[in-house]
């Protein structure tokens, strides 16, 4: 008793110290084994920012991407694996330590090809194990890192070029240096708060010599400025202590972005490409004296085009006259930059970087807006890497097909429709292209499965697409008599309606509505933006090089949210910060922006989500990053916009772009931010980051499938990511969280009759994950199970165990999959396998009990299995199939037992023979042995192998083969199969009868053996045999 009391005391202390009773857990503990799956696609891939190979091993290549992190190949670029999932996925530069390139890698986050849609980084990272693990090495506020240069003689000395903030002033930019491998940093060259280091090069022969390009640049939501008095090229010869401008030969006047490259084989030869105010001075310069003097060599289009996007020169490591220049198509010179040729067709436009194989200059890799390409012939013919799913979605919607399809548009890669599941996995061939140019928002027609709407940048194209016939009709609205010029955002909002199937909305500065699939349009609003003329000068945008692509179109509507409860209620958000709502279908609009507390003026209204439970409720997400404000803004109103409350907590990282309200539980919200997916189950009081197979990628849009309860994410760099079943989160209340074990309620599980064809992709091509077709058993564990036994059984209606599953042990939500099949039948032991015998038959529909035994406690739930509603088979057909399959199943086992009897008795006979029996006994034993042997040879194969040396099939093989055919098809077996079954069944019966005769004689034999003091010949019971492993 004493002891027990003491123990109780310990226990209480223990609980009070560590107990966390009815709190809903957070993070990993909340989501448990819920997992995201990636479906790509990779056929168009996505923007690549930086390529970096190993200095001596040509098999190793790192790929830095615009929004999809870092990928590494160790096989020369055939396959790639993502190695940077836990960190911001926007990559500026990748570098390998020249002394220890196998292990030490550096990644500077924040892309430096600063288009309007560019993501942000959060500093510099280092890996000491070849990219398996990373730690941040400072420069947290750098936003974008353009280059990393490591002293080959002393790798703890590293120089980093920081381009810095794009959308505002920042002092964290310039050239930084560490002497201690990244522990501490010194800013060694700084020009000003709006001028960053856009390129940095180190002389490999003399690491104290450095060249640094500085660029004065700035973006706003409505303008871009490249160039100014501060753009310059600097050189240091003393490890960065002193720097001098090296412009001798450069054009006068303002300069813009400058690239610099050193010829690795002859380091006095430099190339620089210059953005210049003077048209004559643009393009490529070469120096042969380490930058003391420069000669202008070329101003071809490809050399001068869009410097903010293409300022990269790469020199052949063996030949100082072979130079590659990034560009709209990319180009190569073999004569030191005097003349260039295009790099050849077949490569996606917008080339950003090149990498020469370290041993063979004919072998070149390039990175573009559409992935990585390889050339084996010095850059004339290229093939695409098809295993990089770094596609950059802007938006995603779904339809009601089975399986549902996903619709969305991508940066520079058009608009696409693909299935959320496909036999063999979701392959490149499953995707349909439904729009040109840059793709954004795509919607299926709510009722016509062949129709979808798509668009390209700035609504230059707005299309109705007939997907069956692959016809595309332009349906955009035009300015009418008396209208001002229509202003459409780069990423123009379009939307279908929940109330009228042929209705379509599109936003310029006005909200336009069509009720006939886009044939005719009316305006249903006045200008809903601030209409600030100072923000409508996009044709002047670009700075010293005009860049009027439409990317800076501003004072436009950006989000349209029609209430699913009332077609008269429509919300609109604008890129210049207005939130407007109409309660009468567009007759009257109220600007409710001023009612939102704590929101800085003109913060981009990125997404408005009207409530699904109450038409006065809405959620609004604002993105301040184009105003250099990275904070998270998410608000909720419950009174039609009169008052708003923030639902943001410190749990959330990154500016947000999209919110989705759950369709069943109003406290369950899903939020996409620049750094991933956040979920709250308590209306925004606590948020948890979802991380299981979900990288820290920018989530641009979140949608929830109303039928399948799948959360579908448009990521800007990792394609479409799906979390298949969010229903457990709906049921997770504090009461549930207080229980030791809680089974979540599940809808009946469907016995899927999935086809087994598909899977035609070649090795190295990306194939998207399918959802599971298994039945899910989902439960909550209050605490992780670590000590003692825990098991999970599935029992049929008679209480018989049909499966023993491996239960999840995680704290939080656990998901266990059951493939609703019986175990494999016992198969007669023979010389070889019969492959049909590995088939497992499907269990019949009905109620099954799932029993979880955890220590002494037993928890049960019922699992309802139903036939596939999509089945092509009749119930009678399925029943006939089941009956035949099970009959064959048992025939396999009966034959197996028969052979077991034969084997056991043969053993017994051998044993008796070995004991030197009398001649009389021997005479009895010998024919008995022969009979058993013959019997076996007639029933199973006793020779050959499992491949082309296979013996002629015997009864075992024939039964197993028919069994496999019948069990493998969900419908009625063919008449021929049924006839064959009868034949095989009668043969089995004949064998069993024969065995009956043998057993009759066995009694007599055993009597003789016993008399002689010899061991009897025995066999085991069928039950015993079926229980045993062997």
């Amino acid at each position: 008793m004493h002891k027990a009391l003491l123990f109780l005391g310990f226990y209480l202390v223990f609980c009070s110290l560590f107990g966390q009773d009815s709190e809903i857990p957070r993070g990993d503990a909340l989501f448990g084994s819920m997992r995201a799956r990636h479906i790509g696609p990779a056929l168009m891939s996505g923007r690549i920012t930086d390529l970096e190979g190993h200095p001596s091993d040509p098999k190793i290549l790192y790929v830095g991407t615009a929004g999809g992190g870092v990928w590494k190949s160790t096989d020369g670029g055939v396959t790639f694996a993502s190695v940077f999932d836990d960190h911001p996925q926007s990559i500026g530069a990748v570098a390998l330590d020249p002394q220890n390139p196998d292990n030490v890698a550096w990644v500077g986050t924040g892309e430096c090809w600063v288009r309007n849609s560019v993501s942000v980084g959060d500093g510099l990272y280092r890996s000491d194990d070849g990219g398996k693990n990373w730690r941040r090495m400072g420069l947290e506020k750098s936003e974008r890192i353009s280059s990393i240069q490591i002293n080959p003689d002393n790798p703890s000395q590293v120089y980093v070029g920081v381009l810095g903030a794009l959308w505002g002033d920042s002092e964290e930019r310039g050239v930084y240096k560490t002497e201690d491998g990244g522990a501490t940093w010194e800013k060694i060259l700084y020009v000003g708060p709006s001028t960053g280091c856009s390129d940095l090069a180190m002389d490999p022969q003399d690491p104290g010599t450095l060249y640094a390009a500085f660029w004065e640049f700035r973006r706003t939501a409505y303008s871009f400025n490249s160039g100014g008095g501060n753009s310059a090229l600097y050189k240091s010869t003393d490890g960065g202590k002193t720097w001098n401008k090296i412009h001798n030969g450069f054009p006068a006047g303002k300069l813009g972005r400058i690239a610099i490259a050193i010829s690795p084989s002859s380091s006095n030869i430099l190339y620089s490409v210059i953005e210049s105010e003077q048209n004559e001075g643009k393009g490529l310069y070469r120096s042969e004296d380490g930058g003391a003097t420069w000669e202008h060599r070329n101003k071809d289009f490809e050399l001068a085009v869009r410097p903010f996007y293409f300022s990269r020169i790469v020199v052949d490591p063996r030949n100082p006259d072979v130079v590659c220049k990034a560009g709209l198509s990319g180009s190569i010179s073999k004569d030191g930059g005097r003349t260039f040729r295009g790099i050849g067709s077949g490569v996606h436009s917008d080339v950003h970087d090149f990498w020469f194989d370290v041993k063979d200059s004919d072998r070149i890799y390039l990175g573009s807006d559409g992935g990585v390409y390889r050339s084996w012939d010095g850059g004339t013919v290229w093939e695409m890497v098809k295993g990089l799913p770094v596609s950059q979605y802007y938006h995603v919607t779904t339809d009601m097909q089975k399986p549902f399809r996903v619709y969305g548009g991508l940066q520079d890669n058009g608009s696409w429709v693909g299935p959320s599941a496909s036999p063999g996995g979701i392959e490149a061939r499953d995707w349909l292209n439904v729009g040109y140019g840059d793709g954004f928002r795509v919607y299926s027609h709510p009722q016509d499965p062949n129709i979808c709407y798509s668009e390209m940048q700035g609504a230059e194209g707005l299309w109705r697409v007939d997907m069956a016939k692959e016809q595309i009709k332009t349906i955009k609205p035009y300015a009418r008599e008396g209208d001002p010029k229509l202003r459409f955002n780069w990423n123009t909002p379009i939307s279908t309606s929940a109330h009228l199937p042929d209705r379509l909305f599109v936003g310029s500065q006005f909200l336009h509505r069509s009720d006939d699939r886009g044939e005719t349009w009316i305006k249903i609003s006045p200008d809903l933006t601030t209409n600030d003329p100072a923000k409508q000068l996009q044709e002047e945008s670009g700075g010293i090089s005009v860049d009027n692509s439409g990317a800076e179109n501003h004072c436009t509507i950006f989000t349209i949210g029609e209430s699913p409860l009332d077609e008269q209620v429509i919300w609109v958000g604008t890129d210049d910060g207005n939130v407007q709502v109409t309660m009468d279908g567009g007759g009257n609009w109220s600007n409710v922006t001023a009612n939102i507390p704590g929101l800085p003026p003109n913060t981009w209204a990125y997404h408005i989500e009207p409530g699904h439970f109450d038409k006065q409720t809405a959620y609004a997400v604002f993105d301040g990053h184009t105003r250099n404000d990275g904070r998270t803004y998410v608000y909720k109103t419950t009174d039609g916009g009169k008052t708003w409350a923030s639902i943001v907590t410190d749990d959330i990282q990154g500016f947000a772009r999209s919110i989705q309200e759950d369709f069943v539980n109003p406290n369950l919200l899903y939020l996409g931010t620049e750094f991933g997916l956040y979920i709250t189950v308590d209306g925004g009081r606590n948020w948890s980051k979802f991380t299981n197979n979900m990288p820290a990628v920018a989530v641009h849009h979140v949608t929830l499938h109303p039928r399948d309860n799948a959360l579908v994410l448009a990521t800007h760099g990792r394609g479409i990511i799906i979390i298949d079943d969010v229903t457990p989160l709906r049921q997770l209340t504090p009461e549930v969280a207080s229980k030791e074990v809680h089974f979540f309620e599940r809808p009946p599980a469907i016995i899927k009759e999935t086809p087994s064809l598909g899977g035609t992709s070649a090795f190295g091509e990306f194939v998207g994950d399918n959802p599971t077709s298994a039945a899910r058993i989902v439960y909550y564990l209050k605490k992780r199970h670590t000590f003692g036994k825990m098991e999970m059984q599935v029992l049929d209606a008679s209480g018989k165990e049909v499966a023993n599953l491996a239960p999840g042990k995680s704290r939080g939500i656990n998901e266990v999959l059951w493939n609703y099949r019986y175990r494999m039948p016992k198969i007669a032991a023979a010389k070889t396998f019969t492959f049909g015998g590995f088939t497992t038959p499907t269990v019949p529909p009905g109620a099954y009990t799932v029993r979880l035994t955890k220590g002494k406690e037993v928890y049960e739930t019922t699992l309802e299995l139903v036939s596939d509603p999509e089945s092509i088979h009749s119930e009678a057909g399925r029943e006939a199939q089941h009956e035949a399959a099970m009959k064959l199943y048992h025939m396999n086992e009966s034959l197996a037992y028969l052979i077991d009897q034969v084997d056991r008795m043969s053993e017994g006979v051998e044993t008796a023979r070995g004991k030197a029996p009398s001649k009389k006994v021997l005479k009895l034993l010998e024919p008995f042995a022969t009979e058993l042997k013959t019997m076996k040879e007639e029933l199973v194969v006793t020779t050959g192998d499992n491949y082309v040396g296979a013996a002629e099939p015997m009864l075992r093989e024939k039964i197993a083969s028919l069994y496999s055919e019948v069990a493998g098809y969900a419908g009625r077996p063919s008449n021929a199969q049924m006839e064959n079954l009868e034949l095989l069944s009668s043969r089995l019966e004949a064998a069993q009868q024969k065995m009956g005769g043998v057993l009759e004689r066995l009694a007599g034999l055993n009597a003789v053996l016993a008399k002689e003091g010899l061991p009897e010949v025995v066999y085991r019971s069928k039950e015993e045999f079926l229980e045993a492993d062997l």
């Binding site: 002891k3 123990f7 310990f10 226990y11 202390v13 223990f14 110290l17 560590f18 857990p25 993070g27 990993d28 503990a29 909340l30 448990g32 084994s33 995201a36 160790t74 096989d75 396959t79 694996a81 190695v83 196998d102 292990n103 194990d129 070849g130 398996k132 299981n692 197979n693 992780r784 199970h785 670590t786 000590f787 003692g788 036994k789 825990m790 499966a803 023993n804 599953l805 491996a806 042990k809 995680s810 704290r811 939080g812 493939n819 099949r821 175990r823 494999m824 016992k826 198969i827 007669a828 032991a829 396998f833 590995f838 497992t840 077991d900 192998d945 499992n946 491949y947 492993d1029 062997l1030």
Partner: protein
């Protein structure tokens, strides 16, 4: 057994209290070895025989595993009433049964070498310093919703395709229970080279005074690929070394006499 069960909660409590103090990797490892039975007991084990069920892709497969000091192992599975050696290693070379011919075939030499440097009996952390291993505390992380110490175990480098490569993995020790609940490793060769997989340990149960995880679950990209449920474990059973050795084929009949 009864004592051990009583002892366990007390240990857990002590371990819990200790988490309030800073821990070194050495202390974490020491506490772990103490928690599961103590070095003396662990060192007294010379062999393990295990009966288990392997679960993969909806199949349940009976498995028998043998391990013997210093570094021998064998895993047999039963298919259609036939025992197939999935893998076996005698401390020097490994072999498996070819599924087509049902005959033993040796692993390639590199694979055997890697196995040699990777095999630990009975536990990777036993005498880790003498084996030339090192441990380092890498911080604290949650695993399966459970606060853990992340300990890096570095073994001697291995040669892969002629190139020496570091050989390490991470163990996540439950801060309260002091046993590892997860190990993260990286594929050393093949098409998945460099990619991580996670092995989860649970159902720790006592066998002759020592705690072993009776449930082992392997995941890749968050998805379970293989489960092992131990049914029976026997310590110090007699095992012939021949059990682990490549079965030399009988000489061809022409060579006889």
């Amino acid at each position: 057994m009864k004592k051990a069960l009583l002892f366990l909660p007390v240990l857990l409590l002590m371990a819990g209290l200790q988490t309030l103090k800073a821990q070194t990797a050495q202390e974490i490892v020491e506490n772990y070895l103490e928690t599961i039975g103590g070095k003396e007991q662990l060192n007294a084990v010379s062999s393990i025989k295990m009966q288990a069920t392997g679960k993969a892709q909806g199949m349940e497969l009976p498995i028998t595993m043998f391990q013997k000091a210093p570094g021998m192992m064998r895993m047999d599975m039963v298919f259609q009433g036939k025992e197939v050696t999935q893998m076996a290693f005698n401390g020097e070379e490994g072999w498996s049964t070819n599924f087509m011919t049902m005959e033993a075939e040796k692993w390639d030499a590199e694979q055997s070498e890697i196995m040699k440097s990777d095999m630990d009996f009975l536990n990777a952390f036993l005498q880790y310093e003498e084996k030339g291993y090192s441990v380092a505390l890498e911080g604290e992380e949650e695993v399966e919703g459970t606060p853990c110490f992340k300990v890096k175990l570095t073994k001697k480098p291995v040669k892969v395709e002629g190139k020496e490569e570091e050989n390490f993995s991470f163990y996540y020790f439950d801060k309260e229970a002091f046993v590892p609940i997860m190990q993260e490793e990286y594929a050393k060769t093949g098409q998945m080279k460099g990619q991580s997989s996670q092995t989860y340990f649970s159902d720790y149960q006592e066998v002759e005074g020592i705690y072993f995880p009776f449930s082992i679950s392997q995941k890749f990209q968050g998805q379970t690929v293989f489960d092992l449920a131990v049914e029976k474990m026997e310590l110090n059973a007699e095992m012939d070394d021949a059990l682990f050795a490549y079965p030399e084929p009988a000489p061809a009949s022409g060579d006889k006499e």
